[in-house]
Symmetry: D4
Subunit: 170 residues, 8 copies
């Protein structure tokens, strides 16, 4: 369980990015990078629903009190992390399905998105696009009460639009 994020120690993280294994970092660094680009204080941790169940529960239970507003959880295969965290917190939880070796993330996706009524997890796309979009969706959530973040989102969209319009085919 490690703390990795842009924010200096005097800033409380608003978003927690949790992943089931260090091998998920290759994908989830794109969530970290996007949050950093928007200067959103956040932390990145490894916690496993299966190998560290008690620490996962404690993390989720204490997140609200620590000022976290959104939890992003990434896992692959029988991906239970997002659901387990959601079961222990009232905060919005976003899930990112990791591309798994054999079934290419279809297992991860279904394990995360098909939650029963009562405990919601907002699920993003499999892999890197999902990692980036989990960060963007958490920023959109934070932006509801932070107008400056909404402005930065607006600029981000404009820049994104500009890149498509200027794209050159070979």
């Amino acid at each position: 369980m490690e703390d990795k994020g842009k924010a200096d120690s005097s800033t409380n993280p608003l978003v927690a990015v949790v992943m089931g294994s260090t091998s998920d970092w290759e994908t989830m660094q794109h969530a970290d990078k996007t949050l950093s680009e928007f200067d959103v204080p956040h932390e990145c941790r490894v916690l496993s629903a299966h190998r560290t169940p008690m620490q996962s529960a404690e993390f989720a239970v204490s997140a609200e009190g620590r000022g976290i507003e959104v939890i992003i959880a990434a896992a692959g295969g029988a991906a239970h992390l997002a659901g387990v965290l959601a079961a222990h917190t009232l905060l919005p939880v976003l899930g990112v399905p990791m591309e798994s070796k054999s079934l290419k993330g279809l297992d991860s996706l279904l394990s995360i998105v098909q939650m029963p009524a009562g405990i919601p997890v907002g699920t993003l796309a499999i892999g890197r696009a999902g990692a980036t979009n989990a960060a963007l969706l958490s920023i959109a959530i934070l932006a509801n009460s932070r107008p400056e973040l909404r402005e930065r989102l607006r600029e981000f969209r404009r820049e994104q639009e500009r890149k498509v319009l200027e794209a050159k085919l070979p």
Copy 2:
């Protein structure tokens, strides 16, 4: 495009529940019902990404200005509504895949969740559980700046827990 919601006319809706067809109401009434149980001002509308593309765009563009904080979009098959609304707004957009006739919602799910990086949609489960959870997730998002909603969520969870613990097998 119809306005249906518990809130009286003097209250601005905070959540918009949009669906591609009146036939989705059978499922999406569970989002409406959940939002009503939490006394969250909201509106329910029919808008189609394909049959009313301009009104869908206008709706999304104007939602922020009208005070909406979360958009819930439900559609089936080649389900483009959530993505199309998300393309036109900075608000958090949640997608609910409808169970489709032949492919049972697998097409709806993939059409909603596999968004490219840049435009996020938080996706819930196929069908009724997803409808209820989209409402609960939107409440969790609103609750970040509304402590009384968080308390109601806490009670909801406690009640939900109690029901499971008191369940009797035949």
Copy 3:
């Protein structure tokens, strides 16, 4: 959380059958029935990985001390119950995927069987066949140190064989 089993109160259960919802009983009664036919002391309970996460953890943590030797866990959709129990116990855990409404149990199956290395769940077939077989596999496990159970399994197989051989086509 209810105790339902053939064993009278003076007998400690050897097998625990846990399911995520009372609606799973229609399927899981076949596990109960099979265990009863073999006179295996057991208990049947409703516990939800998502709605009663703490009670699920406590149940799993205490099962070993109560003399339980096998845990059978049934759930549907994003079926986390078997994995969550397995994370909290060293006992063998068997998972039974419930047939889900839209995806017919493919989601339940992948959510249960695709566990990461370190926390095993032995998974049975979707639905009723899986419920019966989870009971039979738990009996085979108990039979390793209970020769009389192995004899009863042998008779069960002989009877089963006889039924096939005597089957009449119309």
Copy 4:
């Protein structure tokens, strides 16, 4: 949004090939190449249903007036481009599902082909074969009122047949 096609500036394009990202060009160049081989005036552009929604709508709305007769749209993942363009035009729209990283184009295919009644998209195969065939189908459509194009299609088929008949196994 870039104009790329064989036609010199004095010729109005009859077919528009639109793709969601420059990374689709590796596949869609086969549509471009086939149209060029048949000397069909055409244009190739990058437009995103999600990142440039307004320009996509404007493009579709104005295509008919510019003399375009067929629109080919290529996208991957939650592939909304073909459906979004079809919603804004009366021209025949053909969709080409891109092979996506994790789900290999099954998501792209279902997102394009499963359109609701009212807004049709004629869908081709995933990837390169689909790109070539979208060009050939647009030529078959144009050929309905251009006998010389039909003759060239006839020659193309004959040549294709000849190649198979002369194929040598090692």
Copy 5:
């Protein structure tokens, strides 16, 4: 092989709707109905790629000479009809996958859409929506050289839009 269509005998059909079995009529009548609503002369026939291969080939070979401009082919399971007709004609061929009993049309869809480069089939959605949209796409194709059809399509879209906008939720 039967001729069924709205057009009186003095009008040559422009669209041919071919299906592999009379049991497909329940679905394909929606193509027939849509074409009739637009007063498009057309014919509906039963022809099987497998049970009447020679008549299927002859039909496709002769369609162009008879003035047909678009062929719609519907089949289920290992659905070869659209591909077989496309192999024998230069006309645009549209395929409609029938919902099959066990695999719900996924087999039909893949059998129709995954054509190799060289012989295109424009594929519509599984089942009734696909039947209606095949008719609409064939009308859009015909409309390229028939301005009055394009106007009727425009009215159809307006009416369709109106219906969505006037939809009332219960």
Copy 6:
């Protein structure tokens, strides 16, 4: 359409191995090799259901008269070759689904195996194992009236068994 087989020109082929493209040879050489090892006169050809439909039909119609007893047909994607040949012959037809680029042969498999009642195709596994087994199954069919072939099959099985029993793990 090329003739490739072990048999010298004085021997009529008993088995025809037909494939949709020269690129299938990498896989289908294993059918050729197996038939050669059993000294079964056979021929290998490229014929496409879509690009050479008439030659495919002629081939199938004439196969019985040329003394062919089994036809093996290999194709990928919307794999119609086996079904088209079966429609034109009374001989037993075996189908081998090629591994396709995007969908890995699931499309090929369903396109071949899901034939409607009336025209059977005996389908083997996707790829190389299917190619080898199509040859072995055709040999088993021929062996019904050729006792010496059955003896060679018996030896083949014995040798195969021996290899497994002598296998050494590292």
Copy 7:
């Protein structure tokens, strides 16, 4: 294990139809019926790869000596019957996947068709069409050395063709 077939006791069966359970008879009666219509001596039996493994092996080992020329094996779910019989005989084995409750026969299909190189099973479609076609394919195999059967197949095809050509749409 029951003997059910048209042939009187003085005629040795040429085809054996084996199924894993009496519940498969509803589907497999169509194989029985087709074989009877062609006056092919045959037997129908229930044998389970899992519940009567030794009798299944003995059946397969002795089939060749009893004059059987083709074995048809039907099973559902983890459908091992065809593969297990094929492992014990040199006769051609045809497999019919039963439609299973949850996965609709996709499990049955993959369990039968994906045999490893060395032991072939010719697989037919899921369900009733597969049952009929397994009978037709076994007749085509027998017909290689029985010209009168081939003639009857020819008549069957003609009749089948006639029915399609005379089909009337409502």
Copy 8:
């Protein structure tokens, strides 16, 4: 059929690891390694349900008498080995689906897990994680009557937990 295991000749194996092919060793060595780390006497063998059916049956029949307490069976594609062994023994049988070339183990998984009621197979994840977990589950089963093994499992879990907690993101 080879004997490979850590145990010296004076120790009877408690677990048998059987695989269908030497090519499965790359995956199944992780079962072997895990069993060795826990000093569980075991053997590793190659046996094929299809190529060595009689030896497979004999192996399963005699396993109980030789003191084996758990059988682990690994196979790919139409993976019948676990079911065939389970049919011939009363011991608990665990199945490990191998990742297959085309369908990536989905075929292996369904062939193993979807067993009919009466003959259970406890199924683990596709590939390496499944191999490791089959070993861990067999150890959990043995541990029911071997307290020292349970202690070692407890240490293993603690160590595993420690590794996650100490994981450092780059």
